[in-house]
Amino acid sequence: MDYSRYWNPEIAAVPKSGIRKFFDIVQTMPGAISLGVGEPDFVTPYHIRNAAIDSLLDGETQYTSNWGRLTLRKEIAFYLKNRYGLTYDPHTEVLVTVGASEGIDLAMRALLRAGDEVLVPEPSYVSYRPGVVFAGGVAVPIKTEESRNFVLTPEELEAAVTPRTRAVILPYPNNPTGAVIDRAALQKLRDVILRHDLFVISDEIYSELTYSPEGHASIAGLPEMWERTVYINGFSKAFAMTGWRVGYLCAPAPLMDVMVKIHQYTIMCASTQGQVAAEEALRQGREDDYADVALMRRSYDHRRRLMFDAFRQMGLSCFEPLGAFYVFPGIRGTGLTSEVFCERLLKEKEVACVPGTAFGACGEGHIRCCYATALDKLDTALSRIADFVKTL
């Protein structure tokens, strides 16, 4: 049967994630060390897991409100106010989603009309462009420069705006580069955003994993930006809760009304135990000043410095990442493309990294290495990479 007669060609044409391609090869190599993961190497803190178990034993096996449990939404609202100075009404402006990924999808589907353009700074996470396409929009990549710390500049933004531009994605702290954006840089973008009446989709899933002394700044905290921002965050990275699939999305109430419709008819609600666990994470964090997060952040920070230093020692150009848990060293000097570098590194030295091109064409010349990996494995991986680079 020729299925291409039935499917939607635009969806079918979306390429598979470049990250996934390596998965099949790695699976066949038991000795391989993977720096290709995109999740914490911690398990969810014990008290959080336990809260979910208690809830199950208590028989909390029903749907929650479409919006998510109000107690959780209140915790989220408190957390955002407390941590980032953002004000959202837990009744009408906070929606609990199935991971931040659902938040991205909801934002696109609610905001875009057929043919609307969305600006996607790259290199960036693999879901944005497909998300735009699935919503009937057109993704317009903007190449960010390593020389400017992979931060989107007002000039780059301005140059990409057309009459069809509806929104811009702000993916900071950034996967895969580890770039962060500070308040001053956001301020400059704000002027362009306001001038062209753009909407902002701000994916701040890595906000807790920021290692700069200034900490994380959200665009939604700038004057006149709250009104035009969809704020996306979740529990996966900060609380080591990837498998629970709980995120949240915040936006002004009228827009939220639209987004909730999609969520209500397609998802119903995020899993009840995931929500209970998330609530415990925030409740405990409120009491102990987010000690779990601080502990994990410190551990990532140690490894971040180690990785950054190691790549520099190898003679590779390496931008100092100040967020997330990735380094994005440049491998152009080796004469190999990202894809070939990663394939050969995996086959010859059994270390898996992700080619920079998985995160947009402008990721060519880079590889993404995740340092959320046990220290002894990182050491082995780094010395294998160093050996590999020497042979080139």
Binding site: F22, G36, V37, D41, R298, H302, R305, V354, T373
Partner: protein, 163 residues
Amino acid sequence: MENSQIELLQLLQQDCRMPLEKLAVMLGEPMEAVGRMIDDMEKRGIILRYAPVINWDKTERERVEAMIEVRVTPQRDEGFDAIAKRIYRFDEVKSVYLMSGAYDLLLLVEAHTLKDLAYFVSTKLSVLETVTGTATHFVLKRYKSDGVIFEGDAQDKRLAVNP
């Protein structure tokens, strides 16, 4: 105590053989400064010894271990300190803790054989005049010690490449 000192101690506790260069990189401090911090903490008795965590069960060496609860009569002016000192002088005694609750001192005792351990309790420990009672619990198996899992699955459960 500064945060950097605590972070340094935590790193050393994970791996005390970590080279100074690496510690310095991970802490984002100059090597000399880290070296000074370590010297200082050694002098102040914060760092007492650098020792590996050993799973003796995997060796041929014969060895028995027991936790012994000890009830004692505290002495005027000295409290429990004098008796604790008399007890920790025995080579068999690896750790001594003053406890709250039903007994006073908890000892971790190690001996070559079961007989040696019994001999220690009956001829050295119980006969001390301030010791009023003991309860010996033999260690059958060590699952986790000093934060290290000895027995069981501590494997990385993540998919190799994701998401």
